[in-house]
Symmetry: C2
Subunit: 406 residues, 2 copies
């Protein structure tokens, strides 16, 4: 009986290690980190009632009947620039010229924008329109109130959040540490970049691709050189890797004679071999090593990245208390027929295409999981339910959008 992807995810997420103690990071380095503590406002924001327009601060009652044919003439007391408050209250029949963001003078209750005024005689200004009380005015505290809990832990720090933190004067931001993720690839056939290839050997690509996926998920990769298919070597490497927060291995968990990973894991921790109802990447191993979560990903490069996306990334994000780790999944029409029918849920590498004013999903034609080049430009995984299809152009399927992240 195959396990569903959702069941595998929930089993994995039930074994998340407790969060690490928070650390402080300078505001300028906080982008993309996850907030670790609530943030309160120490003051009202804005801190003072101010103008949202360039114009004239007025008593709205003075211009209540003003219009182009019958303007209201007001005496201009002076000019208030941003950063330069005045303390004298505005008298009836008077106006201050005022700039955007400048503090409203005491007693004024509205701003008439400059476009609705004209110069009058004797230094007066003519209001050509009425304004409501409060019009073009931002009240002190309308965005945040002193003492208000503004930001919650678990929030991913985006540029607007950086702006809010700066507005609150927070220079050191409490964030969750990035989990450290050890990456161990096993296999006699693996050769590191820069070394010559001998017959039967291939270059180690999974360590690099997984390191990049770990980075993209917001964690710190810790890459070990590939280890040969020798039990003692694997045991030693894994013992060292277990000082990380999460241990990933790729390769070595299928049914081959030379797969020592399982044996080592059973001695140093625990290991479940799961057959998950998905393609690519059916065999996924999950367990623990010296108490750390352990993932045994398929050796196949495409399967390794898809299983990383579905199982490892959620754990990394949840360890940092980010609850919104799920990719946006939307229903999109197929741009071409898709005829492949699989007996497992199929995560189909796809592009997004804009055509005739709509967004479409365009699956790559070569879905063989050994074909790395079908990832070029892939921005999405189309999710095809098992034993369904073929699908025709225009039919809708759910699509996980990976663009700018994976």
């Amino acid at each position: 009986m195959l396990m569903t992807v959702e069941e595998a995810q929930s089993r994995i997420l039930s074994r998340i290690p407790p969060p690490s103690p928070q650390e402080l990071t300078p505001l300028m380095s906080a982008l993309g980190r996850v907030l670790a503590a609530p943030v309160y406002s120490g003051e009202d924001i804005p801190g003072f009632t101010n103008s949202s327009m360039d114009g004239y601060a007025v008593h709205s009652a003075d211009v209540a009947h003003a219009c182009g044919d019958s303007p209201a003439a007001l005496t201009v007391r002076g000019t208030i620039a941003a950063g330069h408050p005045v303390s004298q209250p505005l008298s009836r029949g008077e106006a201050y010229k005022i700039m955007t963001g400048a503090p409203l003078p005491p007693a004024a209750d509205a701003v008439i924008q400059v476009e609705w005024t004209a110069p009058g005689e004797h230094g007066q200004v003519l209001a050509l329109s009425a304004v409501r009380p409060g019009q073009n005015v931002r009240l002190a505290g309308q965005d945040m109130q002193k003492g208000q809990r503004v930001l919650e832990p678990g929030l991913v720090i985006s540029p607007p959040i950086v702006g809010i933190l700066a507005t609150l004067g927070i220079e050191q931001v409490p964030v969750f540490p990035r989990p450290r993720v050890a990456i161990v690839s096993t296999g006699d056939e693996l050769v590191s970049a820069g070394e010559p290839l001998r017959p039967g050997q291939i270059r180690n690509s999974n360590s690099y691709a997984l390191a990049a996926a770990v980075q993209a998920a917001g964690a710190d990769p810790w890459v070990f050189p590939p280890v040969a298919d020798v039990k003692t070597a694997i045991a030693e490497r894994f013992a060292e890797a277990a000082s990380a927060d999460i241990v990933l291995s790729s390769g070595g968990v299928s049914v081959g004679d030379f797969d020592w990973v399982k044996e080592v894991l059973q001695e140093q921790g625990t290991l479940d071999l799961w057959r998950v109802n998905m393609k690519p990447g059916k065999p996924v191993a999950f367990g623990s090593i010296h108490g750390r979560p352990f993932f045994g990903l398929p050796g196949n490069p495409v399967s390794a990245l898809v299983t990383f996306e579905l199982f490892v990334r959620p754990m990394i994000r949840e360890m940092m208390q980010d609850r919104l780790w799920a990719r946006p999944t939307v229903s999109l029409p197929l741009h071409e027929d898709f005829s492949e029918v699989q007996d497992r849920r199929h995560y189909v590498r796809s592009r997004l295409v804009e055509d005739a004013g709509r967004l479409w999903v365009s699956p790559y034609s070569r879905q063989d999981s050994a074909v790395q080049t079908s990832w070029i430009g892939a921005e999405a995984l189309m999710v095809v339910p098992p034993d369904t299809g073929p699908y025709a152009r225009g039919e809708h399927l759910p699509v996980m959008i990976l663009r700018s992240g994976f």
Copy 2:
């Protein structure tokens, strides 16, 4: 007459400076960079025909009629592990035990997976099923051929692309330099984080938020301290900032008396003030300073980030030759009624909500562009055409998805 967003974008993109010369970056630092040169394969990938399963390498003709009731018995010549090729051809009636990724022995043309075999007598193996020629075999060069142009310049380097580069043995990756973006905020009212607030002053948040947005767009921010509303100070600061690739200023381009930015720009370069048919962010200034592209963004924090997203980010991405900078825009149903009607195209800060198995767009209720807190958790901008609405729950509107990027 207001300019459309698309017209403003195309005017901006018609003035992109020529690309900077490429630079080399180590593969482990290449994530998110943009490839600057085509990448060719120096060899066939895979480099040798190999098994995609753990099983037995056979002559498919030897097992053409095998089934559970009438298995084919084959003599096992030995075992081939990944990384350990054999040179002797497989004779008829024989099999090699073979591991996933191991090179196929000469003359074998298929692999029967281990699950479809049983141990026989005298060290033989019983094939319980027929296999087609080529079954469970990956042919040399099936992914990439020697000399093939595999990757194109302009490609954003994602984890799968890192994997392909590693497979090709590329340790130093040619990428476009990150543009350097100078950020100058102007205003007497601005106070840097850590300094005390005096009456009428506000903290400088735009410099920080824009720096984060520049980083998220893949460029390098260069932040200047805020400059007072004094013409000579502004002129000096801008002259210095013009050694960057792009210059951003925030504040100082509206119609206020104290807006020296326009004047300085007209002396040191060129400046067009555009009224763009959008909300927030109608007034946008675009020009050049000492030959560098200049953007004058609104001082309002929300407007500054929305105009950055629509105008500055495209230029940054295009300068790096990334042609796929547009955010995925999908049509989503409203999760709640949305009653605000605007006379300009409205970019509405919104969340994505999963409910009843569908993805919905949920606009924040406070769209006042002075309300920074309406960005908290915002993952999308819903695009409402001018003079339309109100919209009811369930109606569809286009939604730009910002999650994991903005």
